[in-house]
Each structure stands twice: as structure tokens, then as C-alpha cells.
């Protein structure tokens, strides 16, 4: 696929913006493709609905916004409810199976569930749930290489949390359905 649009949604404090930043950086700095990241910029606060988006292209990214997406990552029920309609036919929905519990009757999208927050909690830090999810998304979609993602994570999180985040990524990457 030459062009891919990714929407990541959840609530403020989950690292939704950072997730898109890491994906965009991995793709554009380490994988040699183009990426444009934009974020919903409103009166969002911790706990409120929050979303970010990345457009990935082999060539230049022209139109930078995401009106419809090939990949939707939902880390909250509200995030799912708000954005499931932008997912294209044949698109992939990634969701945290403990946080998104009421799914519409999808017939034309691929659903991929992972208990990202629970896994992160078991690692001792709930805040790396987004990175667990990114690991899973990386393994299941292949639009970005794990090597690039690791490099982007290393450059984007505080130094003392690098190891934890890499571990979170690897755990998500290796996740198999329960």
C-alpha cells in the first residue's frame, strides 16, 4: 500500500499524541518514507477525549488530514464511538479489549484486540499501555519496521524509561491472542 492513514484515539493522559509522534518519526526518520502527524487541538485535558493522526506515504504526503482511515487504534470506548465511522472498508481496528467493550456490528473491517492496559499494569506502569499497543500494531500491520519503532521510542521517551518502553513495545509486538 502506497498510502496509509492511521487514527489513534483515547483520552488525555494515555499518550495518544506521543503514539502518533513515535509512528511518524519511525516512518519518516528511520524507515525512509514520508509521514505527516496532526493532532486534534482543542480544550482537551487529562481524562477528556483525545485523538491524533498520521498519514504515511511512500512519496510525499499531500493532503495532511485524516477524514477516513485504514487503521483505527482505540484506547477508550469514547475514542472508538467517536471515530469508528471513519474506518474504511477493509480497514483494521485495534482496540484495548478491557476499555472498549461495546463494539458495533462490523462486517467489513478487521478487528484486532489486545488487553494493552492490563499488560502494562502487569509490567508495573500503566502509562506504557500505548507503547504495548504500538508493538501490537507494528507486528500486525507491517507498515513500519520494529527497528524504526524502537529507534523512535528511544528518542521520544525520558531516558530513565527507555528500557521499560522498549520492553512494553516488545511485549505488544509478541502478543498472541489469549
Amino acid at each position: 500500500m502506497d498510502k496509509l492513514r492511521v487514527k489513534i484515539s483515547g483520552y488525555g493522559g494515555q499518550g495518544i499524541i506521543l503514539s502518533s509522534y513515535i509512528v511518524g518519526k519511525a516512518v519518516s526518520i528511520y524507515d525512509g518514507k514520508s509521514a505527516t502527524m496532526t493532532q486534534a487541538y482543542g480544550p482537551e485535558a487529562r481524562g477528556g477525549a483525545c485523538s491524533s493522526q498520521v498519514v504515511i506515504d511512500k512519496g510525499q504526503v499531500d493532503y495532511p488530514l485524516v477524514d477516513s482511515a485504514e487503521v483505527l487504534v482505540a484506547l477508550s470506548q469514547e475514542g472508538y464511538d467517536k471515530f469508528f465511522h471513519i474506518l474504511n472498508k477493509g480497514g483494521v481496528l485495534f482496540y484495548d479489549k478491557d476499555l472498549v467493550t461495546e463494539l458495533k456490528d462490523h462486517t467489513d473491517v478487521v478487528e484486532k484486540a489486545i488487553p494493552a492496559t492490563r499488560i502494562a499494569e502487569n509490567m508495573g506502569k500503566k502509562i506504557v499501555a500505548n507503547i504495548v499497543m504500538l508493538g501490537y500494531v507494528t507486528a500486525q500491520t507491517k507498515f513500519v519496521t520494529p527497528k524504526a519503532m524502537e529507534a523512535a521510542i528511544r528518542g521520544s521517551v525520558p531516558q530513565k524509561y527507555v528500557d521499560l518502553n522498549i520492553k512494553a513495545f516488545t511485549t505488544g509486538y509478541k502478543y498472541k491472542k489469549e
Binding site: T38, Y41, P43, D62, Y63, P64
Partner: protein
């Protein structure tokens, strides 16, 4: 944390941050401003970065003082910048006129949001384009650059400083909230690889120097503050000494040179980007963020058999009159795509009137053009008898 005073390399960087880094690379060492969405990140970055390069950051009480502050800093020899959005430009316009009249090099960034008035603070538009050209009262030539990506926001901020120093005036970079808040790859070359222009200083002795006596290029050279040169500069109509002279003759000389120094150097200033212009029947004209919807729309129109080209205005002011006039003789018509209800389209119409049709695809901001609206406009112009 950034340890190095000057950045180089590849970054995944937000537009506003890239603008601040472009300013630092161009030699900007003074920022005076008042934060406003969606330009706040520029001030934030400058507040952090300037002390690392021995520069100064001042947050003023408002935009009126900010503009006055950068004019003062420029006269002290610094390359200064301010950054704001439409509401801030409205407040700065009186002092922007002073900067034009005193011929003060400085850079004014406008990250446009939805307007008029406070409008849509967190969303975007391109409805300040005429304000950038005619915002302050009076006749003066002016320059506005319009980047459509973080990389270009970096690059054009440097160009803006170069033009400001070369032509001695406040230069605008007029972008929008999408570009300001968008994050993309930005390549920052080593400083020594950048083309940096600094203002010209006189080689005359203090006794022979007159501060507003222009060279053949219509630009008067500066004298360094503190070097013993006598100076007088004012917003009043002035002669070559800088002294107020209330005569028709002096007004003609003074105002005419402010217009001519840009008009006569337009070929040197104007930057455009052309795609498939040569055998086009329809040419789309756009700038800034709007221009990024044009390429996919063009591809669609081409699939329907239309010969369509694209002229992107990297500088919007001075307007590329010559280029539009020439093109209008070869094509059926222009389609102008902008996030306002008709501003730059007026200039295209004016220059194309005799030979080609002009059609606006406008949008009030807060969203983006539908690609089909652009495609349909291209088809309509192409199919007109």
C-alpha cells in the same frame, strides 16, 4: 534537551518549532511577542532557545508593544522576530506601518486561524492574506511568504530574514494553524551551508552620511548604532536626512520609494513553484496549506482528460502579476483554491481579466476543501465554451 546551540540533522518536527529554528539559523537573536494560539509554540521555543545562543526573549504586555519592541531591537542591530495570529496582527498594524516608514528589517509571523475577530482559535483559515498586504494604512510595498509544510516554514523563515535585511522592511510569513501544528520531517543543514543575507552598512564618513539616502537599488545603507553617526528616523514623511518635511514633493519621493523598492525588485523576490504548466488549459493557483489539496485533485482531473497545471505561490506578495498575465494568454482559465471567501483570487482576476476566466474555490476555514469541489471547478473551466 538540546545541548547544541545550533541544530543540524533530521528531525520529526512541528511547524511552529521549525519556524523558530529557521529564525535562529538565520541569525535572529531577539524575539518580542505575546503568545496566541496557534503561534504560541514559536514564542515558547524562542524563549527556550534564544538564551542558548546569547539572544534575548521578551514577552511584552501585548502585541502593540511587541511590534514596537522588535522595531527597536532592529535599530539596535539585532535581527528580530515576532509571531502571532490574525488578532495580534490587527493590533500590530499601526507599528507595522511605522516599521515600513522607518524601513526597519524584521520578521512578522502570522499563523492564521479561523476569523474574523477571535474566530476559531484552535482551527485554521487563510483569510488574513489581504491584511498582510494592506493591513497598515498608506502606500508601501510589502512581502509575504506562504509555507505549506514544516520544512518550508523553516526554509522560508530564513528567506524572510534575508528579504527583511536586504530590502529593509518588516517581512511577513503568513501560514496557518495546520502547518503550524503539523509535524513532519525537517532537515536542518549546517549553518555554513545556508545563504544568509545581512543588512548593508554605509562606508561613508559620519559627516557625509545621510540615513535615508538610497543606493541605486533604492535601499539606504544603515550606520551602526554607537559608531558616531547622526541619526534621525521618524514615521513622518522625511527627506534623506530623516528629517520631517511636509511637502508634496518629499511625500512623493518618500512614499514612492517604499513602493518602488519592492516593485522594481519583484523578480528577485517572487518565488513560485510550477507543475505541468507548459501545455495546460487550466491552471490552478494556490498557496500555503490549500496547495496540498491541489495535487491529488489535479491527478483526478487529469484522469478525466483535462490538461491541468498548478502554480503555487510561495511568495503571495508581491503578487506575480507578470507570470499570471503571461499564462492568461495561453490558457482557458484559472482556478484559485484558498481558505477564505475570495482574496488572492481578486489579484488573479485583475491580471487575467483580458484573456482568461478565473474561478474561485473558496472555503471559510475551520475545515478543508473537498477534493471534488476542486476537481469540478477544474472541469467547469476546462469545458467552458
Amino acid at each position: 534537551m538540546i545541548k547544541k546551540s545550533k541544530l543540524r540533522g533530521e528531525f520529526f518536527m512541528q511547524g511552529d518549532i521549525a519556524c523558530a529554528e529557521g529564525a535562529i539559523a538565520a541569525g535572529c537573536r531577539f524575539f518580542g511577542g505575546y503568545p496566541i494560539t496557534p503561534a504560541s509554540e514559536i514564542a515558547e521555543r524562542m524563549a527556550y532557545r534564544l538564551p542558548l545562543v546569547d539572544g534575548a526573549f521578551i514577552q511584552y504586555e501585548d502585541e502593540i508593544a511587541s511590534m514596537a519592541g522588535i522595531i527597536g531591537a532592529s535599530w539596535a542591530g539585532a535581527k528580530p522576530m515576532t509571531a502571532t495570529s490574525g488578532p495580534g496582527i490587527s493590533l500590530m498594524n499601526e507599528n507595522i506601518g511605522l516599521g515600513m516608514m522607518m524601513e526597519t528589517p524584521c520578521v512578522v509571523i502570522n499563523v492564521q486561524r479561523g476569523s474574523p475577530s477571535t474566530g476559531l482559535p484552535t482551527s485554521w483559515g487563510q483569510a488574513d492574506m489581504m491584511q498582510a498586504r494592506w493591513g497598515s494604512h498608506g502606500d508601501y510595498g510589502s512581502i509575504s511568504l506562504s509555507p505549506n509544510s514544516p520544512q518550508e516554514f523553516f526554509d522560508l523563515t530564513i528567506v524572510a530574514f534575508n528579504y527583511a535585511e536586504k530590502y529593509r522592511l518588516p517581512v511577513f510569513v503568513v501560514t496557518d494553524a495546520v502547518v503550524g501544528h503539523m509535524t513532519e520531517k525537517v532537515v536542518i543543514p549546517p549553518v555554513e551551508e545556508l545563504d544568509i543575507i545581512d543588512r548593508k552598512y554605509t562606508n561613508k564618513k559620519p559627516a557625509d552620511y545621510r540615513p535615508y539616502d538610497p543606493d541605486d537599488d533604492l535601499i539606504p545603507p544603515f550606520a551602526k548604532a554607537g559608531d558616531g553617526y547622526r541619526y534621525h528616523s521618524t514615521g513622518l514623511t522625511h527627506d534623506e536626512r530623516g528629517y520631517p518635511v511636509m511637502s508634496e514633493e518629499c511625500q512623493r519621493r518618500c512614499a514612492k520609494r517604499l513602493v518602488d523598492k519592492i516593485k522594481k525588485n519583484a523578480d528577485d523576490i517572487i518565488i513560485t513553484e510550477e507543475h505541468d504548466i507548459e501545455d495546460a488549459d487550466v491552471v490552478v493557483v494556490s498557496y500555503g496549506i490549500s496547495s496540498r489539496t491541489v495535487i491529488p485533485a489535479m491527478e483526478k482531473a487529469k484522469e478525466k482528460g483535462v490538461k491541468v497545471g498548478f502554480l503555487r505561490l510561495v511568495t503571495v506578495w508581491p503578487f506575480p502579476e507578470k507570470q499570471i498575465r503571461e499564462l492568461s494568454k495561453q490558457i482557458k482559465g484559472f482556478v484559485v483554491v484558498e481558505l477564505n471567501l475570495g482574496q488572492v483570487v481578486l489579484e488573479v482576476e485583475r491580471c487575467a481579466a483580458k484573456h482568461a476566466e478565473t474561478k474561485l474555490v473558496g472555503h471559510p476555514g475551520g475545515g478543508m476543501h473537498k477534493m471534488d469541489d476542486i476537481v469540478n471547478a477544474i472541469l467547469e473551466v476546462a469545458n467552458e465554451q
